[in-house]
Symmetry: C2
Subunit: 428 residues, 2 copies
């Protein structure tokens, strides 16, 4: 039974993670939050108290930490007796925090792939460039590391695995579709750190086509998707973390990620990109200041956390799997819809942060209980998705399924009982 | 007879001014070019030699100068024995350079109104906030100062005066229309210093309507104009220097300035403005750097001087005057068209810099000859426009007129001979 959580980061996702940990502190124990700016951690703690989200009296503490400093992170893990570290800071920190976990035996969780600030376009699969290189070290140290356990990557990987195991003889394609049909009412804003957000769209768009990597350009391929609840939306082929593990762990020849964008977003993005303002390479101003244009764009854009208050509408993120079952073509959509205003009422966040943060805490609970405490490094789809999906149904992220039998709540145990025994998940 | 010229500035307009001075150095004497960055002055001198634009053997010299330093500027004026200073540096320098001229007796010329870096929107008429406050000092010192003698302001003021004096009993409106129908082939660029360029369009758009100032917003009023040579173009009511003197010196109730913009320019401008990237107020980046967003935008945009090589197409800038003559409605268009490629062939510049630089040198020639050596501060429309227009016809900027008699070369003396004697310019 693992206890005591160290949350690293104090942005929008960390805010949700801390609230959700607090709501489950009987099981999870002490909740510690660490960031470069301790004041941001303290603000999160204040908001937990304000919302009354601490399940039972217990430790809730803020810490100043530069998580690039492995020794300092190890010291904080030890000092707080944390057995679970949820890394929801910048993706530039992943490898340092992972190393601190390997050094202390704490379980490691994150929600995005490691990034190097100086590299934007890397060779797929991206996990092989960083995290997977420490897989053997995790095994030797008996350290549980669950990579990419936000919503996408994370929940969508579990959806893919669940559908792959339970509904198909053969899967031909997985299309992961991420639509935010919400409105923040600002001229323009990104829903999470602009620096990370734009980096996603300025690099090569890798997709998995006919069992090999295909390089595309951003906004090169667009398609209108008719999603449950949010309706018709344009979404564009986008490079995304989950393709880099799903392509390895599931035998599916076509795996694609589609992100919804409105015309206005695309226009602003294109202007900034074409002008060179999304560049991470420094430029020299006429006054002789050296500055990274992307950091200036980040500075003028609204703080993503500030969007939460007025955010309305819903997100819909899901996996559409196509394949065959008993010689017949089959199509399954597994999805979640999440309401911005409801998220704000519960934890003071918008739905983008909420959908990314809740799964990490669900995974922490499964590790604490031993269900997912694998003592090695895994991507989400390597674990049994059933308890994860079932747990989230009671944590604010409800999963639904749409197939030839209709559109219904996905209750994993019931679905599995009705599918063929030999196709069930091996460890279920 | 005033001789020896000091050119202050080493940007696109200064480049043209230096070339044109060199082409007239028998009259103008020594040509000195001073800028903060002496290398830019040297590059201009190299290009003059390369193009063979030095009329006769003579002094052509580069100097390092911070023109905000009045004493240093006075010292350089004295050291170079310059009797004419052409200030084509940043408009932030005007008042300092003017002061140096008042202190040394040199004639002063500029092509744009003084600006304070910390103020964008000022009370009209703008000249009253800065230059005109030194009018009495010029008179006492016997210093000739010709304000705003580029194309617009400058030539368009002379056009307005010439038409006002020669073709009308009463003028109801002057519309100054500035169309650049050229193409630089880049995604986006400004034709002169982006910092100054954008400041023009982020401030309140003042127009002179029914003999009073009216505040408008940028891109609030657009109109399609059918211009000679360049044809139909959309142009938008824009705030511009010349309105701030024409409204004082000519008895015309409506004076407006229209700048041509394509949809693409407007889109990029609006994105940058709405995001706050055109702000001259510093922002703080996440890394703690304090930076002015507009300076970063300037740093990523092409250097206006670099556009010249591939620039194609033409500009058309002119004044459309409407009023009455002998009880009949009358309409006159006086205009210039200028070809980007021809400018590049002659002096290595594009037409925007060319049209701004040539008039300043024409004015310097008129001062050197005594024609415009008023020994006081004047705006262009206070001087006799005839010799100015006639001189430019032989310097690469040809003026044409279009009225009920057709579209023809404007030869001021011939036109004046055919208009009523009592309406002729007083000093002509």
């Amino acid at each position: 039974m693992k206890r005591n959580v160290l949350v690293i980061g104090a942005g929008g996702v960390a805010h949700v993670v801390a609230h959700k940990c607090a709501q489950n502190n009987k099981l999870l124990g002490d909740i510690n939050i660490a960031s470069r700016t301790v004041g941001k951690c303290e603000a999160i703690i204040d908001s937990i108290k304000e919302k009354g989200n601490l399940q039972s009296p217990g430790v809730l503490r803020a810490h100043q930490l530069d998580a690039m400093d492995i020794e300092a992170t190890k010291a904080l893990i030890r000092a707080t007796k944390s057995q679970i570290v949820i890394n929801v800071g910048s993706p530039f920190l992943n490898m340092s925090v992972l190393e601190a976990c390997i050094g202390t035996g704490a379980a490691y969780l994150d929600t995005a792939i490691h990034e190097d600030p100086s590299k934007v376009c890397e060779t797929p699969p991206w996990y092989a460039n960083y995290e997977w290189k420490r897989s053997q070290a995790c095994k030797e140290a008996g350290v549980t590391a669950v990579l990419g356990v936000g919503f996408d990557p994370g929940v969508v990987n579990a959806y893919a695995r669940f559908a792959y195991d339970n509904y198909f003889d053969q899967v031909d394609s997985i299309d992961i579709i991420d639509i935010n049909a919400g409105s923040h009412g600002r001229y323009f804003a990104t829903n999470f750190d602009p620096e990370i957000n734009f980096r996603e769209f300025t690099s090569t768009v890798w997709s998995w086509e006919n069992s090999q990597w295909k390089a595309n350009k951003m906004f090169e391929h667009g398609k209108e998707w008719d999603m449950p609840v949010t309706g018709k939306s344009m979404a564009y082929l986008t490079g995304h973390d989950e393709l880099h593990s799903l392509s390895r762990f599931l035998d599916v020849p076509n795996i694609r990620f589609w992100m919804g964008f409105g015309e206005h977003y695309i226009n602003v993005f294109n202007v900034l990109k074409n002008l060179g303002l999304l560049s991470e390479k420094p430029v020299l101003t006429a006054r002789g200041q050296e500055i990274v244009p992307l950091e200036v764009v980040k500075a003028v854009l609204p703080d993503p956390a500030s969007l939460a208050a007025g955010y309305t509408g819903k997100t819909c993120i899901g996996d559409l799997l196509k394949g065959t079952k008993d010689g017949q073509p089959k199509e399954v959509m597994i999805y979640n819809t999440c309401d911005h205003e409801e998220c704000y009422a519960e934890v003071g966040s918008q739905a983008i942060s909420y959908t990314a943060g809740v799964p990490a805490v669900a995974a922490a609970i499964l590790i604490a209980k031993g269900t997912w405490d694998s003592k090695c490094m895994v991507n989400v789809e390597e674990q049994d998705p059933a308890p994860f999906i079932a747990l989230m149904n009671n944590m604010g992220l409800v999963t639904r399924i749409k197939d030839e039998h209709g559109d219904r709540l996905l209750e994993p145990m019931r679905e599995m009982a009705s599918s063929e025994p030999e196709k069930r998940f091996a460890t279920a």
